[in-house]
Symmetry: C3
Subunit: 388 residues, 3 copies
């Protein structure tokens, strides 16, 4: 018990610190300070100034709403003079971070559940009923074969199918795009962001934007960088593509909103930065399955109560709004951690200098003699050792 107290006492009242050789040499000293300076410059410059290591960071939480505006006119033999507005070309009417605008279409009107000749291709062209297997269907067919071979037109016979008839013929995509006027449609993007750690929230309609400015402005990187209304043609153009080209077969555009903010500065400097990128690769050499399209139908009932539908294969541009960003604010803990690891890195200076001093310099044996004490593992060690 008493011995224990002695050990505890000597443990508590002891202080151990490494013994240091302090070499007074212009060459070695300067070199040492230079290496230390470099490491210090790295720690301060990279970690604190560049990476802002004294800040705690948080990722953005965001909500997005979009609204398209614009009217297009088409004049075709099938539909006649026709006006297209938002409710017609935005499908579905609302999505979470995305908006699809139809720019082209293949329309098949007045389909009913009946039987008709399949679109001719390798597997459907037939000479007699024996070429058609009743009940068979394949991935690319529009219906189920009835087993009859009927005339598709004057020259070609194809297997008859039970399907929504007449079946869609999507061989040729209309060029130029049906709704090529979509180039001048506008897209209002409303975006609210939130940094939960700092309880900081902001919207992309900045406080200095008035209702009248919002009614007339169009985003432009130079003149109106904070106007949240985009002309579709400009979005595609800014991403380095041609709208009319993209409108034919469709595609996907990313509208990227970057909210990188330094919250140590005033909140009004935390501003959105917009950029645009085409998200589906348009690889001219490897043009397999290009563009973006899907099918939907509008259902009607005819006078006798039978269901009929208008099938639309819609080509168009999907605008995905991608919000990202990081906010930073001074915080004690990351500052301390980075100072700590900075101090640790200073230790590397000593290691580097030691290597130079002890292995590369002319007077290396002299310095080694000063730094090291050699101890032999013999009983006569005390006698045999060279003192310092």
């Amino acid at each position: 018990m008493a011995g224990c107290c002695v050990v505890l006492g000597s443990f508590l009242f002891e202080y151990d610190t490494p013994r240091i050789v302090l070499i007074r040499s212009r060459k070695v000293g300067l070199m040492n300070r230079m290496v230390q300076l470099l490491i210090l410059a790295y720690v301060i410059g990279w970690v604190f100034v560049w990476e802002k290591g004294y800040q705690e960071t948080d990722s953005v939480v965001s909500s997005v709403t979009t609204k398209a505006k614009g009217v297009a006119v088409t004049n075709t033999s099938k539909l006649g003079f026709w006006i297209w507005d938002v409710a017609d070309y935005v499908i579905p009417a609302q999505e979470e971070n995305s908006l699809f605008i139809m720019t082209n279409m293949i329309i098949t009107m007045n389909q009913t559940q009946s039987t008709c000749a399949e679109i001719p291709d390798k597997t459907t062209i037939c000479n007699s009923d024996s070429d058609c297997i009743p009940g068979s269907t394949s991935t690319h067919s529009n219906g189920v074969e009835t087993g009859k071979c009927v005339s598709f037109n004057e020259s070609v016979h194809t297997c008859e199918v039970a399907a929504w008839c007449p079946v869609e013929d999507d061989a040729g995509v209309p060029t130029p795009a049906f709704l090529k006027a979509a180039e001048n449609f506008t897209l209002l993007v409303k975006n609210n962001i939130w940094y939960p750690k700092f309880n900081f929230s902001k919207r992309n309609i900045l406080p200095n934007i008035t209702t009248s400015y919002l009614k007339s402005c169009i985003y432009d990187a130079q003149t109106d960088p904070f106007c949240p209304i985009f002309r579709l043609g400009k979005i595609v153009e800014d991403a380095g593509h041609s709208f009319q080209d993209m409108a034919v077969e469709g595609g996907i555009m990313g509208i990227q909103i970057n909210w990188d903010c330094n919250l140590d500065r005033t909140a009004s400097l935390c501003l959105p930065r917009y950029s645009f990128r085409r998200l589906d690769t348009r690889d001219l050499e490897h043009n397999v399955s290009p563009g973006y399209n899907f099918r939907f139908a509008k259902y009607y009932k005819d006078l006798t109560g039978n269901e009929q539908r208008t099938l639309i294969k819609a080509y168009g541009i999907r605008f995905d709004i991608i919000v990202f960003g990081k906010a930073g604010k001074f915080d004690v803990i990351p500052t301390m951690i980075n100072i700590g690891s900075g101090l640790a890195l200073l230790g590397v200076a000593t290691v580097l200098c030691d290597i130079i001093v002890l292995y590369c310099m002319k007077k290396r044996y002299y310095y080694r003699d000063k730094k090291y004490k050699y101890v032999e593992d013999y009983e006569q060690g005390l006698a045999g050792e060279r003192d310092q």
Copy 2:
């Protein structure tokens, strides 16, 4: 070759450790142990207890499905007595992590493709046909001008447009909201989460929840914190807003599900925590483009086969379900890394004490003399140096 073996041998059989001065002093010793204790307390307290540095962590993977329930009655001159159910007010019928519930609307019935007078505003009011440019259209117009000036009502003339007629007049939003009964609708949120690293999965319908409880319960932070059925009015209220106020112009509500779990404890303690937040800022002083709305149409065919539609400008609340969380479980590697960096931090204690002992204490010259050996960079160094 032999020389190489000697070098290798001396390298292998050597052990170098720094020489230490062990100062026996109550003051310095106690201070040293105090600093070490503080750093140790920080390492253990912060890194191990608070941040759980001995655990490996994983982020949540989640899938969400939602289902709204409720019926509303409206009685207006336009529609008469009308019942609204889920299929009417949820648009689109399903989304991935989101659900839109229509609470208000401006309905324009029996629109057909024809010509009619535009809604009067600065650019559309006209005195004669010369004020209207045939074929012109602007972002905010409903159609394409025909070039005629026609009477909108007894007092006002506006340019005629080819459009879906009659055009929508969205000047006034119905107040109170059309479907104000939506406050009592309920929302069932089904959420499955998965922590891939630990192959741990759980659903928010906990094992002790029975079918009969699920049929009758309503979420309440105090009494039913694990019931996954939410009353819409309560969600908005818990976020600090008024449902009836929000219902008029629409908005976005975030339903946040937090799945922070310590998997070192039993799985039944891993429980969802719900919270609610309004995601679109409601800034009364800067009320530019508030709320959330979009347009969609229902298409019909009249007796003669012509297409007509009912256009609905739908105001409503979009509920975004945001699932987040982290799970931790003991793992050897992060434990070792954190112990390592903890040990490294203990080195800082020596640096701090050295600064105090060697620069601040009265007997600093005495201690410096013990710690440092001064070596001059002269050939007469050995003679000139003060021993220790």
Copy 3:
């Protein structure tokens, strides 16, 4: 001023390095080198080979489009012989990272706004009008009670409701699933990924995939691992579930695309890896609220211009496409940081060896004597100390 220069000079031209005891001992030396080797092996093996600490990493940015193909035939008393194609069973027509395919349904045709008997359950069965409260509605009811008690069928009376009538009776889910043929439908997933830091982008339709291969291939983990066309039945089967079982009540399937890439190697080795997982837990013992379904309606106008609708309660499988992955590429900064912390860890070797040498070995007092210099905190310190 002069004194200041002296201090600065002595500071600049000084070099301090710890004094080292170099113990020549086979046992201790070998042990020391072993510990250092282990730590070095850990640093190199774990940090550099396994974790690729010399690389900078980036997370994937992705865009996904999907397209389903296939036709199903049903023959029921209600609908007769009926063909279902993509526009019928994909709801909504397009989503961002998700696709819903209807596999089962409860269809209620020709609903109109009128009054009818409620579906019988505990709260709706009545004996007289006094059991029904006019204007009342509950969460699970289909409409608003009128206060009358009417006959639901010959034996049961229920309260009359104003609703879309006839009301839906969803008591029994059709088994087997209505569209059980959906097992053979195919799903084309087009996925473009982008690593912003490295400006590296790729699509899952690889350069060597031709249009003809894409027309005929079906994904198979062994034979066609890079074909982006999936048979729905195979997806569910690969996840360890039965498609026909899942089709009845619906569910959620995750199609996971992993794009882990080492960009130090050639880009053609950066390939997608597909895996499948059921995202909604199917817990047979705790089968509360299973599956996935939602309601939607198709709206018509009858001959007199009154609105009627067909209500569909759609059960089906939602395919969520989850894209994840990390790319790494050599970079100077993480390499330096990891070398730095590796060096720091080598310091732990000395600490470990010191503990063994100074506390566990037989000759520990001899070694301690060499390592430590004891200094007493007395004025007579210099005399009392044992030299080294």
